[in-house]
């Protein structure tokens, strides 16, 4: 099986390189559109890693959810509000950078610690389930992981209601951000002049 192992190593190194470079690009690139597209590439490569681990269902779910839904919506939102404006310089940029770097380093050290302490190797290679994983995931979702699964759906529902409230401020009698009564005749107009004209 030497050819299979060689292929696996080549795939793994290519995918890891793409993930690392892509993730750095997402953070470091100036253009937000490029960052969003690179994020999609990173998600795809992560799905590739899952494929290498024989978790094809997880890989497809990763593509469907992260690339097909999350990333498309991110790009969609960026393009709908694609304003070319210069961002204001932030005054205390240095201290912010130090704080964020330290937080990231702490997280990194936590991950490294998990990596070092966890026992990764399976007791025997025969224990890997491969194609059966779809059934196993289903069983877990409807037995011991039922509560987290349902709670996640409640979370999504809350997010959805929140989005609707934010998008349709005009149908409320009071504006949620300012508490001022909303002029219902101005429903057709955007909420921006609606708020400023009241004062």
């Amino acid at each position: 099986m030497s050819i299979a192992i060689t292929t696996q190593i080549i795939c793994f190194s290519v995918l890891s390189l793409v993930i690392l470079i892509g993730a750095l690009g997402v953070v470091l690139l100036e253009s937000i559109v490029y960052s969003a597209f690179l994020l999609g590439g990173v998600f795809m490569s992560v799905a590739g890693l899952y494929l290498l681990l024989n978790a094809s269902f997880v890989a497809a779910a990763q593509v469907l959810v992260y690339v097909g839904a999350v990333n498309v919506l991110i790009i969609f939102a960026i393009m709908l509000v694609n304003k070319k404006e210069d961002l204001k310089p932030i005054s205390d940029i240095k201290s912010r950078r130090i704080i964020s770097t330290s937080i990231c380093l702490t997280l990194l050290s936590l991950l490294i610690r998990v990596d070092m302490t966890n026992v990764w190797s399976l007791s025997s290679p025969q224990n890997s389930i491969g194609e059966e994983s779809t059934i196993r995931i289903g069983e877990h979702l409807f037995s011991d992981y039922l509560l987290p699964f349902e709670v996640a759906s409640v979370l999504l529902l809350m997010a959805m209601i929140g989005a609707i409230v934010l998008a349709r401020r005009d149908v409320m009698s009071k504006d949620i951000s300012t508490g001022l009564p909303v002029d219902q005749e101005l429903i057709e107009k955007s909420s921006e002049p609606l708020l400023t004209n009241k004062n």
Binding site: M1, S2, I3, V33, F37, G40, M44, S56, F57, A60, A61, V63, L64, V67, G68, A69, N71, V72, L73, I75, F76, M79, L80, N82, G130, E131, E132, T134
Partner: protein, 372 residues
């Protein structure tokens, strides 16, 4: 049901006869089915383009192409050659990298999805366990390519077309996936092979279309919308958006979009025939005919015969659906964007949810008919 030709096995045995190791035989084997399917997809596109030209001509009482080859059969090749040698233009203010990557991202997932299209018991590239789910996941990548090319063209019509394409494909993916889910519920498997085998019991009577009529219609509407065919071709609505996200494209990059949309159409038709019309199954079960003629089903000649019938049936069913799609394109008016989204979210989504619920209920009530 484990009969049928196993070409891979025979090919590997044949190569081993020359003293090659099984690994090398496997490596030589691997690209063959992929190439074959790629060629089949491209030839399918040529046929579909010719059909589209001829059927649209018939619908509008014209003759259509007739000088390039008999009945104009060489016209699609002439089209392809023209696109191949045209100048490749990237607009001066466009974003070169994204502009080039967009069409590729649109085409590649569609071709990858052919991985799971079976033409017979063993006649597919790979019987992956996640089967039809792979197609759903891959088809969700396409909107990124459309958004990318819409953005990179630096043209307001392109951007609007890209946004519309993404909105459309997001909203029609959900009813599509739900109607596939109802089929999967009945089959107990995601694999396309299992889905076809589950329908092969009693020939035409056991096809899923009788058990899933609502799912069939929802799936077909959503598949048309995913392919951006009329009446759902809003992303490239000529009268409003010039040509949508394709406006700035020329030459081979435009050809990639063109190829992608037609390959997608054929793929959707193939998947409808696999999910609802019994795939490679003959309307009368082949085993019955063999028994009637007193022939053993496992004889090599019979197997070659059944395999070719399988391929012919799959292609025939798919092209019947392509024909319906082309007729629809040339006879129906386009829907408006608000009608499109209303249809997707307020009609197809609740209907497909109800369909899934009813299927689950029927599966519990009549397990012998709706899969145990």
């Amino acid at each position: 049901m484990e009969y049928g030709l196993d070409l891979e096995y025979s090919f590997n045995e044949f190569l081993k006869g020359f003293g090659l190791s099984s690994e090398i035989a496997h490596i030589i084997w691997l690209p063959l089915p992929m190439l074959l399917v790629l060629v089949a997809a491209v030839v399918g596109v040529l046929v579909t383009v010719w059909l589209e030209r001829k059927i649209s001509a018939a619908a509008q009482q014209r003759i259509g192409p007739e000088y390039a080859g008999a009945l104009g059969v060489l016209q699609p090749i002439a089209d392809g050659l023209k696109l191949l040698v045209k100048e490749d233009i990237i607009p001066a203010k466009a974003d070169g990298i994204l502009f080039t990557a967009g069409p590729i991202l649109v085409l590649v997932p569609v071709i990858l999805s052919w991985l799971i299209v079976p033409f017979g018991q063993n006649l597919l590239i790979s019987n992956v366990g996640i089967g039809i789910f792979l197609w759903i996941a891959l088809s969700s990548i396409q909107p990124i390519g459309l958004l990318m090319s819409g953005y990179a063209s630096n043209n307001k019509y392109s951007l609007l077309g890209g946004l519309r394409a993404a909105a459309q494909s997001i909203s029609y993916e959900i009813p599509l996936a739900l109607s596939v889910l109802a089929i999967v519920l009945m089959t107990n498997s995601l694999s396309t092979i299992d889905i076809v085998n589950q329908q092969s019991g009693a020939g035409i009577l056991s096809w899923n279309i009788w058990r899933q009529p609502v799912g069939f219609i929802v799936f077909w509407i959503c598949a048309l919308a995913e392919c951006e065919r009329l009446p759902f071709d809003l992303p490239e609505a000529e009268e409003e958006l010039v040509a949508g996200y394709q406006t700035e494209y020329a030459g081979m990059k435009f050809a990639l979009f063109y190829l992608g949309s037609y390959i997608n159409l054929i793929l959707s038709a193939l998947l409808v025939s696999i999910l609802y019309l019994g795939g490679w199954g003959f309307p009368i079960p082949v085993e019955l005919i063999a028994k009637f003629l007193n022939l053993p089903i496992n004889a090599p000649l019979i197997q070659v015969f059944t395999a070719s019938i399988g391929i012919v049936m799959t292609v025939l069913k798919a092209y019947l659906l392509v024909f319906i799609a082309i007729l629809l394109r040339w006879t129906t008016p386009r829907v408006r964007i608000d009608q499109l989204l209303d249809l997707g979210w307020k009609f197809l989504l609740p209907i497909s949810l109800a369909n899934l619920l009813i299927t689950a209920g029927l599966k519990l009530a009549f397990p012998q008919f709706f899969g145990g």
